[in-house]
């Protein structure tokens, strides 16, 4: 059965729903995992994403099916739900200071980069840029896919990605804070 058929039947046929759910749960779960700290929050966000997706499935079929793939539509919900979580939560900026202490001031040299450092570092970026980095480097998506999810042109995404990477690199090198970039 094609994905289009699965999507068509997912609200009525429990088998189609399960197939779709099992295909996308790990992807969505990993996306949220890379953005939030604790498991309880992640579970809440993932639940909201899937309930929202099931609720809006007829709307997707009616309005968006021709415009974007199911995967992009589902990731768009995930991005929105994650953003909503961060908007509701008070931002904790203390980790920014910790990072400055950790990083050396060594110009263009290679940064001693690992997943945990990057995950912490991107939290100080604006939500839109967090999404860009997360989709590109954690979910390994192409610019075209990211553009579809974020409803932007591919060229725009490339430009934004370049700026965000520059900002992130400078921040990780400890040259300046995000506000100075």
């Amino acid at each position: 059965m094609t994905e289009k058929e699965l999507v068509k039947r997912a609200r009525k046929d429990v088998g189609a729903f399960e197939e779709l759910y099992l295909k996308y749960y790990p992807k969505i779960n990993n996306f949220v995992y890379h953005r939030v700290q604790d498991d309880a929050t992640r579970n809440d966000i993932v639940s909201n994403i899937f309930f929202k997706a099931m609720k809006n499935l007829p709307k997707y079929r009616f309005m968006n099916e021709e415009k974007c793939s199911f995967s992009s539509w589902l990731f768009r919900i995930a991005v929105n739900e994650t953003n909503q979580h961060f908007r509701n939560e008070k931002r904790n900026n203390t980790m920014k200071n910790k990072l400055f202490e950790k990083q050396s001031n060594e110009g263009d040299k290679l940064i001693d980069l690992d997943y945990e450092i990057l995950k912490e570092a991107i939290k100080a970026l604006p939500l839109h840029e967090q999404n860009l980095i997360s989709l590109r480097f954690f979910e390994k998506m192409k610019h075209k896919e990211i553009a579809e999810i974020l409803k932007k042109k591919e060229g725009t995404i490339k430009v934004q990605m370049h700026r965000t990477l520059e900002k992130l690199r400078n921040f990780l090198q400890g040259d300046m804070s995000y506000e100075d970039v």
Binding site: L22, Y25, H34, F50, I111, F138
Partner: protein, 154 residues
Amino acid sequence: MKTFEEQLNSMKIPSVDNDPYEPVLRKRLKAHYFNPVQRTQMQLKWAIGFAVFFFVITIGLIVKPQFALKAHNAAFRESKNISIGTQAPIIEPDYLNYTSIRNPKLRGELDPDKYLEDKAYVIRKYKSHEDNNAVLIVSEFTAQQTQFADNRLF
């Protein structure tokens, strides 16, 4: 920049495998969307919603039929002006026929279908037997408003 991007690309990204929450959420979703009782309740809610909606529309059209015309004009960008309720010919008693626009003597003068009755008036003339003066009392039939005219005006 390329080196930094390559670094990010080659970074080892951990993933969550066999998440224990996956079957929990699957069960919750199935219970919510595939439970027959819940489905029936949902269908019932929709049915009641539609019934209430159409009931309100029907009552609205009975009470204010001109809404249908307004909706039609808005939908098709027309400006039709049909006076609902005055389409049928008015049947009046024979002895009043000559007072109406359908007076046979007026035939050929004007088309009664092009006019709508707006107001009805009663005019009563009184004559004084002392000085032969006359007054006319013009009264609006339903609103009970009266105007007075004396014989200097007619």
